[in-house]
Symmetry: C2
């Protein structure tokens, strides 16, 4: 069996209290005893049980991370950043895939609570606000990332989605596009709605009627986006550009464009969102609104760790600026028309 603090105490001929003190480097212990105890701990491969010390009021040094799907690059990259930062602070992180399923979200929350994790990062929308507020009575540190939830008062890190939507749209509008497809998932979270607001704001500012825009909803995968974009392109050939709310959907749109015989970017401009690695690997490389994923992960984790440590009193919301990364999937609409004529 694994050695316990008693085994160490016995072999070192001291009390368990003394051993505990050298483990935690607390109180005063003679240098000699300390060395002796240390030597024996080493010899026996002794490690204090986190389980036992957690029971006596200490932490579990574990945090939970809820995301819709870790296989989605955005969340994978975010998780990497969270884990790195947590690791640096002595924390392990347990991942939870919610699939945006309200029941799984709540279930995971309670599971983590039962395991006495020290804190939880929510990278998934919590649909059931009531249940969440109930949960918060447990008083376990929470932090939000890439999600906004005005109803609850917790540390939050996100990107200015409104500006992101605005920037992407303006870029397209300036290139002469007016009939733009807005390709989105469920449109059930603040990110989506904020981006749409920015989208419309740009329309207004350019004096283009919002009627010109075409909303393409309910896209949950590359294939969904491809399919619905294909339909949109067929029923409305005037569409010359698309703004997709994540890089995956954008890739689907590029594929749809190609399948519909539209060259990208000459005949169809595409802008994505997130700037995960697939944006650079796409062909052509994708113009997209970049979220500083790694920084977001680092920030939330740091905020959560600080809160666990009892620092920062008031809750904070950090809003980062998204940045439009112009690559090769967007072109001037005039150029597009000229090309079409020539071919």
């Amino acid at each position: 069996m694994r050695p316990t603090i008693y085994d160490i105490a016995e072999r070192a001929e001291v009390s368990i209290a003394t051993v505990s003190k050298v483990i935690n480097n607390k109180g005063k212990i003679g240098e000699k005893t300390k060395q002796r105890v240390l030597a024996i701990m080493d010899e026996l491969d002794y490690q204090p049980s986190t389980v036992a010390s957690a029971l006596t009021g200490k932490q579990t040094n574990t945090i939970g991370l809820l995301v819709p799907d870790i296989a989605n690059s955005f969340f994978a990259e975010l998780a990497r950043s969270v884990e790195d930062t947590g690791h640096a602070g002595g924390f392990n992180v347990v991942i939870c895939n919610t699939d945006n399923n309200p029941e799984k979200e709540i279930q995971y929350l309670w599971w983590l609570n039962q395991k006495r994790v020290d804190g939880i990062i929510l990278g998934t929308g919590i649909q059931n606000t009531k249940a969440l507020q109930d949960f918060m009575k447990q008083n376990i540190p929470l932090a939000l990332v890439a999600r906004d939830a005005a109803e609850i008062d917790v540390d939050t890190v996100l990107v200015d989605d409104y500006r992101g939507g605005y920037a992407a749209t303006k870029h397209l509008l300036k290139a002469g596009h007016t009939r733009i497809a807005f390709v989105v998932g469920e449109m059930n979270n603040s990110s989506d709605t904020e981006r749409l607001k920015g989208f419309y704001e740009a329309y207004d500012e350019h004096g283009v009627s919002r009627e010109e825009a075409v909303l393409v909803q309910d896209n949950h995968s590359i294939d969904d986006a491809k399919k619905s974009m294909l339909e949109a392109l067929q029923s409305d050939p005037d569409i010359t550009a698309v703004f997709a709310l994540n890089d995956f959907l954008a890739i689907g749109c590029i594929q749809a464009g190609k399948e519909a015989g539209r060259r990208v970017p000459e005949d169809l401009s595409v802008v994505g969102f997130d700037d995960t690695f697939i944006a650079t690997l796409s062909d052509p490389p994708l113009t997209t609104v970049a979220q500083p994923i790694l920084e977001m992960g680092r920030l939330v984790t740091q905020m959560l760790v600080d809160r666990i440590g009892g620092k920062n009193e008031t809750t904070r919301t950090v809003i980062l600026n998204p940045e439009l990364h112009v690559r090769k999937t967007t072109a001037n609409v005039k150029k597009a028309e000229r090309d079409v004529t020539n071919s």
Copy 2:
């Protein structure tokens, strides 16, 4: 504060032993008391502390997963599968990114041990065999996935890398390619060496001299692959095909090809490995040797969970068959020559 078993017992006017029994559905308790206790637990949002019960001999219901980098799609998809399967069995999973760094590998192992996780899945090469064997004295259930380690006796799930390498190469050879670049990372694990063996075996079988092959090593990223492939292509224009050991590297090679003015697949055929989602999203879609990632994750996790539960006595090694998925990045070399002549 969170309610404890004592609070429940008090309110229900029974002993904590009774409460414990209804929690675990053990022993015999009167239906009435049972209902009363249950009602109170519910009312108080009571959840037994995993920490406390783990201290009294029960499990933590947590497993660890070590991977080089969760941001790498192969491991992200694997992690998703592991988490799903674990979740179904009542386990949470904590992720650990090792970056293939021997020190991090060992450190994580001991961290997890200290937290008393019930088992660990190794999806990363453990370079330090000695340290690993030392660790195994802790007697904590271990399982390997996508890695082979003949030195240690643990449950293992992997793909037949030899066959995978052979299949990919044969596909290229049959298309008339002989000068093939073998693009690999560090070549420091069994997967890589086995695939190389399969690669050479195909050469031998086709009566092509192994001298024809060109090894391109030390590629750790898309950019690495792109760069070294570009160099290879310039210094050796006779190369007409490449076999890259993962999809990322393959994408880099496609990019290199395009940059070198080679059309893919007409002037350069590319075969990857893994079949992560980026293979379908690449342009053209990537021909690649598919690993059944989800199944692999499901299997190891199930094996580990079974072992934790005290089932399966002897350790097992499950070898899955890789499958060549032919898509659009490979073409006949003759056709390539003809095309070149025409243009």
